[in-house]
């Protein structure tokens, strides 16, 4: 087992474990904290996949902003009284069954399909020694060759709308 595989297994186990913790802990704050670990481990996976930019962006946005957002929301919607703050609904068993079924279905499909992508690991290095960030920047902003500049602009609009929406919805009146 080489180094990458080992790291992968460690990160994967922690990832799955904390994901399970998120959905099963009875205290909402504990769940939120487990969620942080989930995000962090996801960043680790991205690193393993040579996607440094995505990893950093993951940390920045998910761990940095969304987690805080969630914690603020938990704080503002405090559930007083002794009951658990993160209870399970009455039909949780139904959800469990469905999840398991879907999971088994997906995994089975993946295992037995003939990928369009070869299963051999590794990839050819990027042309030249362009780093991941540069390449993503080229893909996002390039005015002349193949680029995703339009989705980028739309994404900024989405963010604008989201900001305005969140403010409007969250108003007190």
């Amino acid at each position: 087992m080489d180094f990458a595989t080992l790291v992968f297994w460690i990160v994967a186990v922690i990832l799955i474990g904390s994901a399970l913790a998120v959905v099963s802990l009875r205290n909402i704050v504990h769940s939120a904290l487990s969620l942080v670990i989930v995000f962090a481990m996801a960043a680790g996976i991205y690193l393993l996949l040579n996607a440094e930019f995505i990893a950093i962006v993951q940390i920045l946005i998910y761990v940095g902003a969304i987690t805080i957002l969630i914690l603020f929301a938990i704080m503002l919607t405090r559930i007083t009284s002794g009951q658990s703050t993160n209870p399970v609904s009455k039909q949780w068993w139904l959800g469990a069954i469905i999840s398991v079924l879907i999971g088994v279905g997906i995994i089975y499909a993946e295992m037995n399909s003939s990928h369009a992508v070869s299963a051999t690991g590794g990839s050819s290095p990027l042309p030249g020694n362009v780093s991941n960030v540069v390449r993503i920047g080229q893909l996002l902003y390039s005015p002349s060759s193949y680029s995703y500049v339009l989705p980028f602009e739309v994404a900024s609009l989405v963010l604008l709308v989201a900001i305005v929406g969140a403010i409007v919805i969250g108003r007190e009146d």
Binding site: I28, F53, I54, V57, E110, V117
Partner: protein, 111 residues
């Protein structure tokens, strides 16, 4: 046993299902949102994995430098952030109105 695409795909699938369970089976609205975040992360992992294991069989085009999966992941993250913001604003607003964040008590559209 080297890392293959299957590893990441299975990981993504399991994570997705865990997130699904969280979205279905928890009563706190914020917990539901957390489940949804987990699902989005699972998808992201799958996307990036596909972009890494990128030997496309087929018509000889060299698409390996098109980091489609990663770009997709960036956009997913962006939209997820926006959606989380709006959703949490809604949860707070509902909490102000009804003094509860229990989704099983928000059933005004019932029969």
């Amino acid at each position: 046993m080297g890392l293959t695409l299957n590893h990441f795909l299975v990981l993504g699938a399991m994570l997705f299902c865990i997130g699904l369970y969280g979205a279905i089976a928890k009563r706190n609205a914020i917990a539901v949102l957390m489940g949804i975040e987990i699902m989005l992360n699972a998808v992201n992992i799958t996307m990036v994995a596909f972009s890494f294991f990128n030997h496309v069989k087929g018509n000889g085009l060299d698409l390996s430098s098109l980091l489609t999966g990663q770009i997709f992941a960036i956009f997913i993250i962006t939209v997820a952030a926006a959606e989380a913001a709006v959703a949490l604003a809604m949860v707070i607003s509902i909490y102000r109105k009804r003094d509860t964040v229990d989704v099983s008590e928000i059933d005004m559209m019932k029969w």
